[in-house]
Symmetry: C2
Subunit: 384 residues, 2 copies
Amino acid sequence: MMDFLQQSFTVNFQYGVYFTEHLFNTENTVFSDFLAQGYTQEVKRKILFVIDQEVATYHPDLISQIDEYFSVFNQVQLVLEKVIIPGGEIVKNDEKYYREVIEVINRNGIDRHSYVAAIGGGSVLDMVGYASAISHRGIKHIRIPATVLSQNDSGVGVKNGINYLGKKNFLGTFVPPTAVFNDFQFLTTLSDRHWRSGISEAIKVSLIRDASFFEWLEQNAQALVQRDKKAMQYLIKRCAELHLQHIASGDPFEKGSSRPLDFGHWSAHKLEQITNFEVFHGEAVAIGIALDTVYSQLTGLLTEEHANRVIQLLLNIGLPITHSMAIIQDENSPILLGLQEFREHLGGQLTIMLLKDIGKGEEVHEMDHDIIKEAAKRLSGSGF
Amino acid sequence: MMDFLQQSFTVNFQYGVYFTEHLFNTENTVFSDFLAQGYTQEVKRKILFVIDQEVATYHPDLISQIDEYFSVFNQVQLVLEKVIIPGGEIVKNDEKYYREVIEVINRNGIDRHSYVAAIGGGSVLDMVGYASAISHRGIKHIRIPATVLSQNDSGVGVKNGINYLGKKNFLGTFVPPTAVFNDFQFLTTLSDRHWRSGISEAIKVSLIRDASFFEWLEQNAQALVQRDKKAMQYLIKRCAELHLQHIASGDPFEKGSSRPLDFGHWSAHKLEQITNFEVFHGEAVAIGIALDTVYSQLTGLLTEEHANRVIQLLLNIGLPITHSMAIIQDENSPILLGLQEFREHLGGQLTIMLLKDIGKGEEVHEMDHDIIKEAAKRLSGSGF
């Protein structure tokens, strides 16, 4: 006896990404207007803030601004308790932080119609997004990214996660945020190193999706390095837009093995890990982009002229293109393990994005270790 | 300066629910045919089994049958290690079990194209579904429910979860399974108490969605109690079908506050908890159905004749309609707290499904404590 029922349904996911300044100035109603949208008298909603320690340090008035803002706009009840957690990978590595967020959610009776807002860098957003996604099977999560990298890349996407059993993002979900608020003011206090490293994801997305954005980056490299506000605002919005388009047009919850936005990332993830995150994610991505660009050239996929333009742009932004730990001595060199781990995390067949033109990628299913070695060697030499 | 990008995308979710017998008999190709669907030479896929201790005890040949099955059908590589975990609420209460599943997933390199199959009652499926949903942001999860309750209700749905901070399903996600296999043979070894208690969810779904199914249940009550195979097979398939239709037609990931399938559940969840799960879920649901049915009658929503038919069917199946802990002495009686906790878990406005007819529910947003008290009193008396 065999019998069968087929289940099939579709779910629509929507969220807005807002670009603003001075989000918690009471004259700025972007945030309160968003919260007012869902207002009904019957449903009592709350909002809990989780804040990156680094952001709280550089913006010492932030908490009092939030308190004042919600004394004026009170469609949603502010939870007075704020959770302050460290930024960076530690907050994803040590379980105590995600447990703390879940405990505060419970203690304050945050339900599925209430909000957990996270203000911080990508690691804080990843962790708080995960804690929100699994509490009560999903509390509404608002992201307020505070770095270039999170405003133009991870903060606008649908992934969250924490590290577990020594593996990056071993636990996590695909759950879109309820809204994203990119406040330019948070970027003004970033170090030059953080400011620049976030630009590598913009270079990456331009290389695989948009040649004219790449040309814009070439033309505006100096303005970006000099921290020109208008240039960075344009970069963030365009980069966020390209990421959003990619998610909506493709495979948002990554059911397949193709992962075009991970161009340059197989080596980057490994490099971050083996340098104990002393190399920032954006820097590691720059090195990863350089490696896969030269690899593309050496295999004949990309012209030398195009490869040189990529490397030159990375250098003009002040991004690294090589690292002592990225050199390959032999088959046991740690960076090569990154290829295997990348396949394991995605699952299925190894699928790597390479470049065939500025603005155009091409996927391959294997990489030649000798050619990777040669590419790494060229980048470490005086060739560039 | 304010600027905005709108993200919107749709994701389709599909899974099959198979009804079969002797799933791991090598002459039954239902399971292997399913696994063969996704076969490509390039992608090495694995399957890990997690098994409810009670199922393993009553079916001592199960593990060797699985091993033999995969020695014949080998499109997917069987992980030889099996995880055996206790059934019942303990497996959702104690974190060590979900951590164990995640560690075995990691140790065996189970990736997003591989499968974790769970064989067991609802608690085991909930916990393993959760562990699978968060590992690598979602490993394919196959459900093989082994009780009446899980075959006709939770096993075919999209929820998973574990208990945390003393609260039922505090952590969990909405993630559909990859497939569900209902094997009737697992039901043959159930105790009469387990067999009958699973029928309450069928009564529930008939009451809110399908009067003719309710009439079928009335007509077949004796056959069901006498463990007639054909009757139970029909019940399970029809009940699963009604659940699947409800999920697909409504709000699959429960973004709103309406929860029609939770008819009778506000008191049932609380009763399970305050009796330390000595009252089975299905029994608690029977008591909850009785309570909300009499409440519907007392408020004039439902006729006495219809209310009596509901109570009579519960009694004919051998299900309880009252419990000493369900009696309400005063406002502090624990069962009344269930109303508040139900609202908190759903979030938003309290929304309770009552009955206006056999096969037709009606939602209300408050319940009168005195009338609940009177309903509980009637059920505990000799009135029925």
